[in-house]
Amino acid sequence: MTTLAAPTPVVHRAVRDVLPVVLAYAPFGLALGATLAATHLPAWVAWASSPLMFGGAAQLLAVQMLNAGAAGVLVVLGALVVNARMLLYSAALAPHTAAWPRRWRWLAAYFMADPVYALAITRFTGTDADGPRERLRYYVTVGLLMWPAWMGLTGAGVLLGGVLPTSLRLDLAAPLTFLLLLLPMLTSRPAYAAAVTGGTVAVAASGLPLGLGLLAGAAAGIAVGGWLGGRDG
């Protein structure tokens, strides 16, 4: 593992893959930072959600609920329901990371945000199969670039919060960013079916409390994808 940091083709590939994602995350990160700064929480406390959670969707939910005066237990519950998808990401990545040394897997878990998961799973399940060491290099490179980018973007958003014109609306930046993480995953008919089902059920169940509609959609989509995938394969 002493050569982990040495530049290799897979590291270059990781840098090339992650830079456009960082750029695409800029509006979301800045908008989230500005939203964090607009709460009554001390700015540094709101920003601390970035290193503590490293995931914009739950940060937004948690800080907005705290700002609205919700009870701490409810805030924790709501954010953990939104982040329960990390259990699924963890399960989906595990077969590709089993050969990594354990301490690297502890680190990899911390980096497991949506964009890191999306880039890694696309790379690991692609046609050109990497060995475990290459996979680890790819993952850690993506994480080491995405993490400071997210800290910096949300931090800049906090600082610029009062300066950004209110007419500059960025609230659609987050779903657009997630859409662009989703598109490369639509590589087969069952994958499309999983996405269509997940999206439809999530809309139908959007009235559920605590953001449980997301989990309902995810469960339905995974089930339909698995059913079609088993039938086709």
Binding site: P95, T177, F178, A195, A202, G217, A218
Partner: protein
């Protein structure tokens, strides 16, 4: 500092969920589970994305849903046509959303459409 504590608890819980299978799994998942794993990404991301476009502020309203869906379609098209260029697709989608939102509110102001 109750708020910081709350955020830290969420962070710990999130980390535990991220580590759960990554660190603890010792062997390959059973075949029935492994068959489902490829669909985690598409299903979860669509469950986040689709409601955000269809009902941007929690309810389906034409004045907000139409520009958002138009922006999503534009981003998708740009991503497909322009060699999967993420920044162009994202900023293109945002631009379409701004223009469409402005057009809808202008039409609404003239009494032509939904306000």
């Amino acid at each position: 500092m109750a708020e910081l504590l709350t955020l830290a608890v969420i962070g710990l819980g999130t980390y535990a969920m991220r580590a759960a299978f990554l660190v603890m799994a010792h062997r390959a998942p059973p075949a029935r589970v492994a068959r489902l794993l490829p669909y985690v990404g598409p299903a979860v991301l669509a469950a986040i994305v689709v409601p955000a476009f269809v009902a941007p502020h929690g309810t389906i309203a034409l004045a907000e849903t139409a520009p958002a869906l138009l922006a999503a379609a534009a981003a998708w098209l740009a991503w497909r046509r322009l060699k999967r260029n993420l920044p162009i697709a994202l900023f293109g989608g945002l631009a379409v959303w701004w223009i469409a939102s402005w057009a809808v509110s202008a039409a609404g102001g003239l009494g032509l459409g939904p306000s």
